[in-house]
Point group: C2
Chain length 353, copies 2
């Protein structure tokens, strides 16, 4: 059976995503991806922004996150099932799609479990570029699961962070994190507690996984001038920071209607002032204004970031060899002749050797 181009959608499997990331290099991948993320934040007003469409169950949530810039449409399928880890599955898996708005035809299907980890880290680093003190070199990472490592590499690639202070309630997680990061040339210290980890850090990244209102970081631990990159508090009932920190910090968010429900600021009044981060990128408002200011990027992950990541992957398909052709779209010779196409397929099946 011959395929005409119209019915084919390029598909980037997990295997090919890993090959692509390795071929490009993790640090360069994150750096290039960050430019796509930044570009899309800059043109934020053109995006069709919809709250994610969530289907909740006892064990977790399945979400669809669509967006569009008027030319290209994208969505991500993502689940969140904390108990999965206990049975050797990912807490979060994802895949995504881009489509041509003019025709509605998909133009890319891609795994996004790995890609989401990369885009989350790239987005955090883009924010820190504008919000952390210039010359920042030391980052504390509280919670040393899968995302922590991507955060570390992104902050090295984009900000030059080269000293890490790791803490996790499970020490083996910190050790695994240090091991995976060995090749990147960090000066790594595994710490015995949050207090020692954040001591002297320019940037504090919180990226713990427990689905509960936790207090990973208390107010007394946060010093003047620190940038807090709050990644782990990302759904209703899941926060990491003590409320008093939020009251002292200048808070930057992706999309306020979503962050007020899912982010750290779910602890605050609905009208607590926050700054939309895209306005910083667009030059409308200042990011960090002084060396003493405490800045907080209250990140929950937004559909435009997935869109940026898919756009970046699509741009890389030109390299060749990193995708498969997926026969996803019916393409009869005559669009009104769908049943005829089915009938003809039977004939071609029989006539095969």
């Amino acid at each position: 059976m011959t395929h005409r181009a119209l019915n084919i959608v390029p598909f980037v499997s997990v295997h090919n995503m890993m090959r692509l990331v390795n071929a490009v290099g993790v640090e360069r991948f994150l750096t290039e991806l960050a430019t796509f993320v930044e570009d899309d934040f800059r043109r934020w007003p053109v995006f069709d922004k919809t709250p994610r469409l969530a289907s909740h169950s006892v064990d977790g949530v399945i979400e669809l996150m669509p967006t569009s810039d008027g030319i290209t449409y994208g969505f991500k399928y993502v689940n969140g099932h904390p108990k999965n880890m206990r049975v050797g599955r990912q807490t979060v898996t994802a895949f995504g799609l881009l489509a041509d708005v003019a025709t509605g035809y998909p133009v890319l299907l891609s795994e996004m479990t790995i890609l989401t980890a990369l885009r989350t880290a790239a987005t955090s680093a883009v924010a820190a570029l504008h919000l952390a003190r210039p010359g920042s070199r030391t980052m504390a990472i509280i919670g040393n699961g899968a995302q922590s490592e991507f955060q570390a590499v992104a902050f090295k690639a984009l900000l030059g962070i080269d000293r890490l202070r790791l803490y996790d309630i499970e020490r083996w997680a910190s050790e695994k994190c240090a091991r995976n990061l060995a090749r990147y040339g960090f000066d790594v210290t595994i710490c015995d507690g949050v207090a020692s980890a954040v001591e002297g850090a320019d940037i504090v990244t919180t990226v713990t996984a427990d689905k509960q209102n936790a207090t990973i970081l208390t107010d007394n631990l946060v010093g003047a001038g620190q940038h807090i990159n709050a990644v782990g508090g990302d759904c209703p009932g899941k926060t990491e920071l003590h409320r008093d920190i939020l009251l002292r910090a200048d808070i930057f968010v992706e999309y306020p209607p979503q962050t007020r429900i899912e982010g750290e600021i779910q602890q605050l009044a609905a009208d607590h002032p926050v700054t939309e981060f895209w306005r910083v990128i667009a030059g409308e408002v200042a990011g960090r204004r002084s060396a003493e200011q405490i800045t907080l990027f209250d990140s929950v992950g937004f559909a435009t970031e997935d869109f940026s990541a898919l756009r970046y992957v699509r741009s890389k398909l030109a390299l060749g060899g990193f995708h498969e052709d997926l026969d996803l779209l019916a393409d009869p010779d005559e669009p009104r002749d769908l049943l005829g196409m089915v009938h003809r397929a039977a004939v071609s099946e029989i006539s095969r050797p």
Copy 2:
């Protein structure tokens, strides 16, 4: 690279869907699919019902249609771009996914351009089984595009309809329809107008494609006892029936909040009485009550029908040979070791011959 089962999602391509339909047989496929549709209508209250999430543009719409029965989650991606036909593309293309609610892991990805055509026809036939006069043998089909042929075969398979009266403003469409249906043993009459087509028909199926408020069928043409299967009026601003017909008919719909926006009843007051079709299947209310009653199934297509269709396809995978393994999910040996998995992939790449 070896794949463990966890990372693999079965994928039914267009090619394999056509092979599956032909292997099962179009009529049997529709008949079996109808039992899945009927089963899911019967347990309607268990479904998580969400209005479709639509992204509108100048040229069309891209929609995500999710639902869940608490055990399995499903969604369909579908576009509607009327102008596509002029450039040799499908007006509607679709694909769909099923996932396990307990883990959020996808369990089936399938083309749904062909499958949607089949499920729409199967749903219409299920409705007619309960709403058309017993012993119906003649169906008029107004609009002879791709969907009309699936409608005809479904009505033959489920109701024994063996006489067709076809009308389309383009005669070649009727001729193509008659040609594709030749193998199914219908007595086919191609008619010169709507009036002659509906004359004496037990069932009138309207399935035209123009996106406008049209009057395909006027009130004087509808006789006592007829069942109207209104398929084509399925989005805001697109209707096929004169309002007076609606006022005379007993109207059955899938999901009132959606049908009042998208169906023929968008022409009526928001509180005009309609019957939810699932209640008929569940035995809560009667379908047809008399030989004179005019019944109308105001079909717009609902997410549960796609869910039923995907469930049916999944049940057929046991036949073997009708799907490919898609490497869609990242599956590190240790869920928290995603970056380590990426690193190890590079090593395995280099060590390949």
